[in-house]
């Protein structure tokens, strides 16, 4: 514990940790935001074109089984980025999260009751407006269930990026192991956990705000 106090007592260390935390937030949440957009598009394609569904979701499953470290290393070879480019992590995590979210989005769109989409069509909605204002909002609860898993998974996976030198809180682990010093490792674990909890709390709050209809009490009549 004395070690921990001494470690955090240094202003330089504290400012370095703060930078790592911000990097970590950026590296884990940017892919989350990008993949929501991608998963909504791909999920819609699966929902709309049944024949595409099997192929796309099968690919997504395979992609999800590729080890993260391998993916971080392969991406430069595929798209020609530098090996230490932080975009490798952003792209890799975007791929994972998109693979994770596409199926629930597609399932949630399939689960919108037929009489609700039929009613929307019969009221005179055009397809895009119907998708954005009726079908997608109804998919939000399922989408957020996927997002919560995705955010936690990203926050933990970003740490692995430190092995290829991309920054984030994972650097605390690599440093700690290299110098056989426990304090940075403990700080890294605690901050990673706190970050995951805070982001999860924010996602829950955002979901509640977006879906007031989903937590009113129904009547039996």
């Amino acid at each position: 514990m004395g070690d921990l106090g001494k470690y955090l007592g240094d202003a330089g260390t504290r400012s370095a940790i703060w930078t790592m935390l911000l990097e970590h937030v950026y590296l884990s949440l940017l892919p989350l935001v990008i993949s929501v957009v991608l998963a909504v598009v791909l999920g819609w394609v699966c929902h709309r074109y049944g024949w595409f569904r099997g192929a796309l979701l099968g690919t997504a499953n395979i992609v999800y089984t590729v080890p993260s470290l391998a993916l971080f290393a392969i991406i430069p070879a595929i798209i020609g980025t530098q090996v230490l480019d932080i975009n490798n992590v952003v792209i890799a995590l975007t791929v994972y999260t998109t693979a994770l979210l596409t199926r629930p989005v597609s399932d949630a769109l399939d689960a919108v009751p037929a009489q609700i989409t039929a009613a929307a069509t019969a009221m005179g909605f055009r397809p895009l407006r119907r998708f954005l204002t009726v079908e997608l909002p109804l998919a939000v609860p399922v989408l957020f269930a996927g997002l919560r898993v995705g955010s936690v998974s990203n926050i933990s996976l970003v740490s692995v990026g430190a092995l290829i030198g991309t920054g984030g809180l994972g650097v605390l682990f690599t440093d700690g192991f290299r110098s056989r010093y426990l304090a940075p490792i403990i700080v890294g674990i605690v901050l990673t956990l706190l970050l995951a909890l805070v982001v999860d709390g924010l996602l829950v709050a955002l979901r509640q705000w977006l879906t007031p209809w989903n937590h009113v009490r129904g009547v039996k009549a």
Binding site: Q115, A118, A119, T121, M123, R129, T211, W213, V216, A221
Partner: protein
């Protein structure tokens, strides 16, 4: 007016849903499409607003070929009430009702104030506008569905089995409500149902479809019951169509006799005859069986439950049913306020029916 001209719909799998339909729905009337499942009634309805396009033939709404209009534009001008209401669960009741005005580009404030008017029109309290559909009963949701369809004041209203998912008592209330609204609004309404009772109850004209999408008969409900075009229609309108057709004979020829009454809460003597118990407003409460002795004041728990009531001047079916369902054999007639005016026996009603038949032939 809605006109089907030689309209045929053949689905991709080869089934013919609608077979060369020729039919004109008159403006300002309720026309009911009725038939067993797979008879093409819903397909015919959905071709009016191009939810389904015909394989061949023409559909005209107010003289305009629907195929010449952009579907979303067409649909915004035609009200649509779907089975189980189909309300948007993520929107408040008020915003559900405001849907079409918003699609038409009205301002939010104007659309919502119009929606509030509509809620009032269908008999829902204004504060219900803030709720979500899941917080409403089935019957209330159905009213919201009707309000939503009427919001932009379309001349034509399509109703696809709108009341099939609610229980019979609520359904009857909704049917009455629709008739009341129609008297006020004078829309051209096409109503699809598989329930012949519902069809003859609310339809000014009824189109009976049979399997294969063929129109079997298109007539006024009384004609349909009295003179079915063929065995299929006769079978479809049911065994008790003779009884049901009494709905279209008014009961003005039925003379009611005075009925002995006792007042709940007062003292009564024993009597050898059936007596009708009433409250202080003369509303019937039940029957007091012959020979019943009452200690102290008359209370409702000694009464036999009454039969159905019929209102003077309404259909003779009600009079007959009142007599048949009454424990005393006396059908109770009431005035529009619900106060007792007298009673009739089934024999008396039958005599009136016989008399009418003889005078017709």
């Amino acid at each position: 007016m809605i006109e089907f001209r030689a309209v045929t719909k053949r689905f991709d799998d080869g089934t013919i849903a609608v077979n060369s339909l020729d039919l004109a729905v008159e403006a300002g009337t309720i026309t009911v499409f009725v038939g067993p499942s797979g008879c093409g009634k819903t397909t015919s309805l959905r071709m009016v607003n191009r939810m389904i396009d015909p394989t061949s033939g023409t559909i005209l709404v107010d003289g305009r070929d629907v195929l010449s209009v952009d579907p979303p534009e067409l649909r915004r001008g035609i009200g649509y009430v779907i089975q189980q209401a189909g309300l948007f669960p993520h929107r408040t009741v008020l915003d559900n009702v405001a849907t079409v005005p918003l699609l038409l580009g009205w301002s939010k404030a104007k659309a919502r104030s119009r929606a509030a008017e509509l809620l009032e029109l269908v008999g829902l309290p204004a504060e219900m506008g803030k709720r979500y559909p899941v917080q409403l009963s089935g019957g209330q949701q159905q009213r919201v569905g009707v309000a939503r369809a009427l919001a932009a004041d379309p001349p034509v209203l399509l109703m696809d089995e709108p009341f099939s998912a609610v229980d019979p008592v609520v359904r009857e209330g909704l049917q009455d409500e629709l008739l009341r609204l129609q008297a006020e609004l004078d829309k051209t309404i096409v109503f699809v149902t598989h329930d012949i009772d519902e069809a003859v109850r609310i339809g000014e004209k009824v189109a009976v479809f049979r399997e294969g999408g063929i129109l079997a008969q298109y007539d006024q409900p009384a004609e349909l019951l009295a003179r079915p075009a063929d065995d299929f229609v006769a079978h479809f309108v049911g065994k008790d169509r003779g009884y049901r057709s009494l709905s279209f004979v008014d009961a003005s020829g039925v003379e009611v006799d005075p009925v002995p009454t006792v007042v709940v809460g007062s003292r009564v003597d024993a009597s050898p005859e059936w007596r009708l118990a009433v409250d202080e407003r003369k509303h019937p409460r039940g029957w007091l069986a012959p020979g019943t002795t009452v200690d102290g004041d008359l209370t409702e728990d000694v009464l036999k439950p009454g039969g159905s009531l019929f209102e003077v001047g309404q259909s003779i079916r009600g009079a007959m049913d009142a007599a048949l369902s009454s424990p005393s054999g006396l059908g109770v007639a009431v005035d529009p306020e619900g106060a007792v005016v007298g009673a009739v026996t089934a024999t008396q009603v039958l005599a009136v029916i016989e008399g009418l038949r003889e005078s017709r032939s």
